[in-house]
Symmetry: C2
Subunit: 379 residues, 2 copies
C-alpha cells in the first residue's frame, strides 16, 4: 500500500446536526487562540492576547540576521533584502484591527469543520514596517503585472496539497497608498513574536487575516491571476462545493461586548447584580469607518444607539463604544450591532457559506441578573 | 421565579461515550491556550506561547501603582506592600516549567467536562520576584500557623459558589528555601502580561499551575487547614463524586515531542519523508530531576534511551532530549517517556480521576512517512 500526502488529509466537510466539536477541531483550538473578550478594554491588545491562527507549524527562526526577503517576478530589478536592508527604507506605523476570516464559524448551523472560532478571533496592534509600494517601486513593476504573490515560510498540507502558505494581492491593493500595505518587522514597538510572523509579515489594513502573510520570504509580481490553494480553493464564499465562489477580502463590520459582570467558570454564563451596568466594547469594519453602534438588551427586539468614541485618526483600528444599562433580575440577552459609513450593517440572521468565512452575525451575550441581595455563597 | 448563582452553574460531570466537545468546553479552549508544540524548541517559551488558563476574567489593571499586597492573619505585623515596596526586598529569578493540573484531560475516557486540554498546557519562563519566605519573616509568623492562603483578584462562580480565586500552601512549602516560592512581578525580564497575573503572582516551582495564584492581592496565614472551593472541592484526585480525594500538588513527570516533519492543517497529522529524522523534545518533573527519557517509534512496543541535555542548574525547568530515528514509509506512532530521580515514570495506560488532574499518560504522535519520491503536489 502506498503512503501519500492524501492519506494525511480529509475532504472539507460540514458537521452533522448535533455533532460536537471533534478532536481535530479541538487540536486547532488548543494551539490557536482568540482574544479573551475582557481584553477588548485595551486600545491596543497586550502581548499574547491578540488572536493567533497558524495553518501549519510556527517556523523556528533562531537568528533573524540570516533572513532575506526576495522580490522578483515581473520586475526590472529583482531584490534580495535583509532585515537591515529593510530598515534603510522609510518606516511607517499603523494601528490595525485584524480579524480571522473564519471568526464566528463554530456558531454556524451547519458548522463548517475547521478552526472552531466562536467570536473572539480579533486583536489590535501597532505594526511598524516598510510600505510594500516602496519596495515594489524600487524593484520596478513591469507593465503587464496584475497581482503580487506573497509567500510565507510555513509549510504543510491541506486537502492533499503540500504547500508553503501563499496568498496574492491585487496590484492596486499592493501598491495602494491609503492604506499602505506594510512589510512589518515590529509589533507594538518590539520585534514580531514567533507566532505573529517573526521576523517579517505582511499587514494589509482592512483585510481579513489570511491576507497578512506571516514569515514572509518572497514577494513575486505576476502577470496572471494566482491560482494557489489559499486563493482558488480556500478563502472563497461558496454555497455548494462546486461553486467557483467569491474571494474573501475586506473585513465586514462587527461589534463585540466586553462581557459584563463576572463569569461562571464552566458555563461561561455572565452574572450581574441589579442596577446600572456600563456596557462597553469595540466595533470595526475593513470596508469603511464605523459610524454607528446600536445596543439591544432584549435579544434584538429593540435597539438603542450607543456612544461612540472618536476614532483618533486610527481609521484601521476598532472604535470603543459605551452604553448604560439598568439591569433587573432575570435572564437577558445583550447584543451590539455595528454599521459603517458605506451602510453595511451586521445581520441578525446568520450569513452562511461552506467555509464559514466573513460571517458577521450579531453577537448574543446571555446574562443572568441576580435577585436583589442574592447571597455571596463564597468563602 | 428567583434568579440565583446556582442558575449559572451546572454540576461537575463526565462526557457520555462518543460525546463531542461541547460549546462550554470550546469557549474555554478559545480563550485559554496551550503551547504550540513546535515551540518546545525554545529553552524559554516566547511571549504569548506559554500556556494560559484563567478560571474567570483577566482582571483589568490599567495602573500598577495602586496595587497592594496585604499580608495578614496569624502574623505579628500585618503588612501592606506596594510594588515599589516589594522591589526593596531581595530579588530572585528562577526558571520554572509550569503545567496545568488538567493537562491531558480531553484524552481521557471517560472525559471529565472542563477545560479540554490535549497535552499542550505547559510553558517555561524566568520568573523574578521576592521570596515569599522573606515577606512572611518580615510579618512574623505566629507559632500556631499551618497554611498560607493566597487570594487573587479574579472573581467568578463555580458550581454555584461565588469566589475570588484562592489557594493555600502548607506552611513548610510557603517558607521553603529550596525551592523558594516567589511573589513574582516579572516574567522573562518584563512586567507580567495581564494573562499571567499582572502585576503580581505566586510562583511555586514544581507544583501544578493551580498553586501559582495570579493577580495576587492577599496572603493570609491561617491556623487551620483552608477549606475554600479550589482546595476542598476542586483540584482533588477522586474516583467517585463522594470521595474526599487527595489534593493535587506536584507535577508528575512528562515528556513531549516537538512534532516531526510538517502538519496537515485540519487533521494535524504529521508527515515526514523517509530517512533520518531527528526527534527532540522536553521532559520535566516537579517531584525530582528527570534522569531518563526513552523513545518508542513503534507505538510503545520497544523503547530506546534518548540523549538528555544537562540541566544547566535549572532544576525546576524542563530538560531537552534528542534521538535519531530512521523513518521508513508507512504509519508510525512515536512516544517519549520520562523518568525522574525518585523512580516515577510515565504510565502507558491512562491514570484516571474525575477531575482529569495530574494525568501524565505517555504522548502518542501518529506520523505518516511518505513513499520515496512522493510528489510535492503544491504550487
Amino acid at each position: 500500500m502506498g503512503h501519500r500526502l492524501a492519506d494525511a488529509s480529509g475532504p472539507a466537510r460540514l458537521a452533522a446536526p448535533e455533532e460536537g466539536i471533534g478532536r481535530d477541531e479541538l487540536a486547532l483550538a488548543a494551539r490557536n487562540h482568540g482574544l479573551p473578550l475582557e481584553a477588548l478594554r485595551h486600545d491596543i491588545t497586550p502581548p499574547g492576547l491578540h488572536y493567533v491562527l497558524t495553518h501549519y507549524d510556527i517556523p523556528y527562526v533562531p537568528d533573524d540576521t540570516s533572513w532575506h526577503l526576495a522580490l522578483g517576478g515581473q520586475v526590472r530589478r529583482p531584490l534580495r533584502l535583509s532585515l537591515a536592508d529593510l530598515r534603510t527604507f522609510p518606516q511607517v506605523t499603523t494601528r490595525v484591527t485584524l480579524e480571522c476570516a473564519g471568526n464566528g464559524r463554530a456558531l454556524l448551523t451547519p458548522r463548517p469543520v475547521s478552526q472552531p472560532w466562536l467570536v473572539e478571533a480579533v486583536g489590535t496592534a501597532e505594526w511598524t514596517g516598510v510600505p510594500l509600494r516602496l519596495l515594489l517601486a524600487e524593484a520596478g513593476i513591469e507593465p503587464d503585472a496584475v497581482e503580487v504573490v506573497c509567500t510565507g515560510a510555513d509549510h504543510g498540507v491541506e486537502r492533499g496539497v503540500e504547500q508553503d502558505y501563499q496568498r496574492a494581492l491585487p496590484l492596486d491593493v499592493a501598491i495602494g497608498g491609503d492604506p499602505e500595505v506594510l512589510v512589518a518587522y515590529a509589533m507594538n514597538g518590539a520585534p514580531l513574536p514567533p507566532q505573529h510572523g517573526r521576523p517579517l509579515r505582511l499587514v494589509v489594513p482592512g483585510w481579513y487575516g489570511m491576507a497578512h502573510v506571516k514569515w514572509l520570504c518572497e514577494v513575486t509580481v505576476v502577470d496572471e491571476p494566482f491560482t494557489g490553494f489559499q486563493q482558488a480553493v480556500a478563502y472563497r464564499l461558496r454555497q455548494h462545493p462546486e461553486d467557483e465562489g467569491e474571494p474573501v477580502t475586506r473585513i465586514a463590520p462587527r461589534a463585540l461586548l466586553v462581557p459584563p459582570g463576572f463569569p461562571d467558570f464552566m458555563s461561561r454564563a455572565r452574572v450581574v447584580r441589579p442596577g446600572t451596568v456600563t456596557l462597553e466594547g469595540r466595533a470595526w469594519s475593513g470596508r469603511a469607518a464605523v459610524t454607528r453602534v446600536e445596543i439591544s438588551t432584549d435579544a434584538g427586539r429593540t435597539w438603542q444607539e450607543a456612544g461612540l468614541d472618536p476614532g483618533d485618526g486610527h481609521r484601521w483600528a476598532w472604535r470603543r463604544w459605551r452604553h448604560s444599562w439598568t439591569a433587573i433580575p432575570g435572564e437577558h440577552v445583550l447584543s451590539a450591532r455595528a454599521t459603517d459609513a458605506d451602510g453595511h450593517t451586521q445581520p441578525l440572521d446568520q450569513p452562511w457559506n461552506r467555509g464559514g468565512f466573513a460571517n458577521n452575525l450579531v453577537q448574543r451575550v446571555p446574562v443572568l441578573c441576580l435577585d436583589e441581595g442574592a447571597a455571596e455563597a463564597g468563602q
